[in-house]
């Protein structure tokens, strides 16, 4: 049936997005499960513009991950033992961005990201791929909170100009 085919074609992508954010396989699968249930019920929300089905589905799974990450319960679990399962996976510590970009292909938006300052780009990627808050990004990059906020904001504005 159509829904199974849709699942087969897209679950690997949705799970990759979710795993990057949730870190734990069980939490990542929970988010993908919730996303597919929502996709099933809300299929009519989808606007039939060719080629955007996948990005629409990724939106749904990302919002679900963000909800889970921002809820205090998930946050506690995430912070206490969240990184255990992925701890043995290779991380490129010399270039922190390497870990974020190792498992993916370059796309058009990357050309625009390349035009940003290194830390600006890194901050946006941490927020996107890891679902980090401003505070978490500033902890990760060892930068003041105000700088992170305005860097992300200005980075997004610059990205917009480039994409247009």
């Amino acid at each position: 049936m159509a829904f199974r085919q849709l699942y087969d074609q897209t679950s690997g992508k949705l799970y990759a997005v979710s795993l990057g954010m949730m870190k734990r396989r069980d939490l990542a699968e929970d988010a993908v499960q919730d996303a597919f249930v929502r996709i099933w019920h809300n299929a009519a929300e989808y606007r039939a513009e060719k080629g955007v089905v996948l990005t629409w589905m990724i939106s749904i799974v990302r919002y679900r991950c963000l909800d889970l990450l921002r809820s205090s319960k998930a946050r506690r679990e995430h912070l206490t033992d969240g990184d255990l399962e992925l701890a043995d996976e290779p991380e490129d510590h010399d270039t922190p961005e390497g870990a974020l970009n190792a498992g993916r292909a370059r796309v058009r938006i990357d050309e625009c990201l390349d035009e940003l300052e290194d830390q600006q780009r890194h901050a946006i990627q941490l927020a996107y791929f890891r679902g980090m808050t401003h505070q978490e990004v500033c902890g990760q990059l060892d930068l003041p909170l105000g700088s992170v906020k305005s860097w992300i904001r200005r980075g997004l504005q610059q990205l917009k100009r480039c994409l247009e």
């Binding site: 049936m1 159509a2 829904f3 199974r4 085919q5 849709l6 074609q9 679950s11 690997g12 992508k13 799970y15 990759a16 997005v17 795993l19 990057g20 396989r25 699968e29 993908v32 499960q33 597919f36 249930v37 099933w40 019920h41 809300n42 299929a43 009519a44 929300e45 989808y46 606007r47 039939a48 060719k50 080629g51 089905v53 996948l54 990005t55 990724i58 939106s59 990302r62 921002r70 498992g103 993916r104 292909a105 796309v107 938006i109 946006i124 990627q125 927020a127 996107y128 791929f129 679902g131 808050t133 401003h134 990004v137 992300i152 904001r153 997004l156 504005q157 990205l159 917009k160 994409l163």
Partner: protein
């Protein structure tokens, strides 16, 4: 409030909404604005398309085989026959899914039972009409409680609410026709929150090959975009 937002400010808010870095309060405000402002929705959708190209660029990671089984169980799909119901083209998925929903959902048969019960209950209401209904649908919530019955007789489309429908001045429920030909959903009007209401679109329903209706939640007055904002339920029109 949206008028007060400059394009640039709105665009930055939309970007941070999609990125996930807004604080909870601003996030909620923007979600509320999305319900009523096409401008806000368009800004957010644009960023969803742009930023989620990043997610789409990730290499696939297969989830465990049990995940599909869990989704299947949650949706009650396990007992469905495997067949050529579907299309492999994901872009056609949404339209096809709505067409199939009523026939493959497990609550279909309970819905038929509830429909027959409602026909009896609302007999006194229906008998004032010149003919018996030729087509009827019952719209149910997730807990299989009947919310509305919809009947179509000679181009005359009438919706009757049950006591399960709660009235709320800040939102309306809108009925949509999902045509079999893949066109965008067509509004059939706002559903009553109490009593009975004659809806427009009866003639349209008679002329179009469709058996599926959808109900969406909308801001007061109905969909601001001409398309369903949030689809809550679907139901099938059944010939009596």
């Amino acid at each position: 409030m949206t008028q007060q937002l400059s394009d640039r400010r709105l665009d930055t808010l939309a970007a941070e909404y999609v990125l996930g870095t807004l604080d909870a309060e601003t996030r909620l405000k923007l979600q509320r604005l999305m319900m009523t402002s096409d401008r806000v929705r368009q800004a957010i959708w644009q960023w969803e398309r742009d930023l989620n190209a990043l997610g789409a660029s990730l290499n696939d990671v297969p989830p465990s085989p049990q995940l599909w089984q869990r989704i299947e169980a949650r949706l009650g799909l396990e007992d469905l026959p495997a067949g050529d119901l579907g299309s492999s083209d994901t872009d056609q998925f949404a339209a096809r899914r709505l067409q199939q929903a009523a026939t493959i959902r497990p609550w279909f048969w309970p819905a038929i039972a509830a429909m027959l019960a409602l026909v009896v209950v609302s007999w006194s209401a229906l008998r004032v009409m010149p003919q018996a209904p030729v087509q009827v649908a019952v719209i149910q919530d997730g807990a299989a409680q009947a919310l509305w019955s919809v009947s179509l007789t000679d181009n005359n489309l009438v919706a009757t609410s049950t006591r399960q429908v709660t009235s709320n001045p800040e939102r309306d429920f809108e009925l949509w026709l999902v045509a079999a030909d893949g066109r965008a959903p067509v509004s059939l009007g706002l559903l009553p929150e109490a009593g009975q209401r004659q809806l427009t679109g009866g003639a349209l329903l008679e002329s179009i090959d469709s058996e599926v209706l959808a109900v969406s939640r909308e801001p007061e007055g109905g969909s601001p975009t001409g398309q369903p904002t949030e689809v809550l339920y679907t139901a099938q029109l059944v010939n009596l």
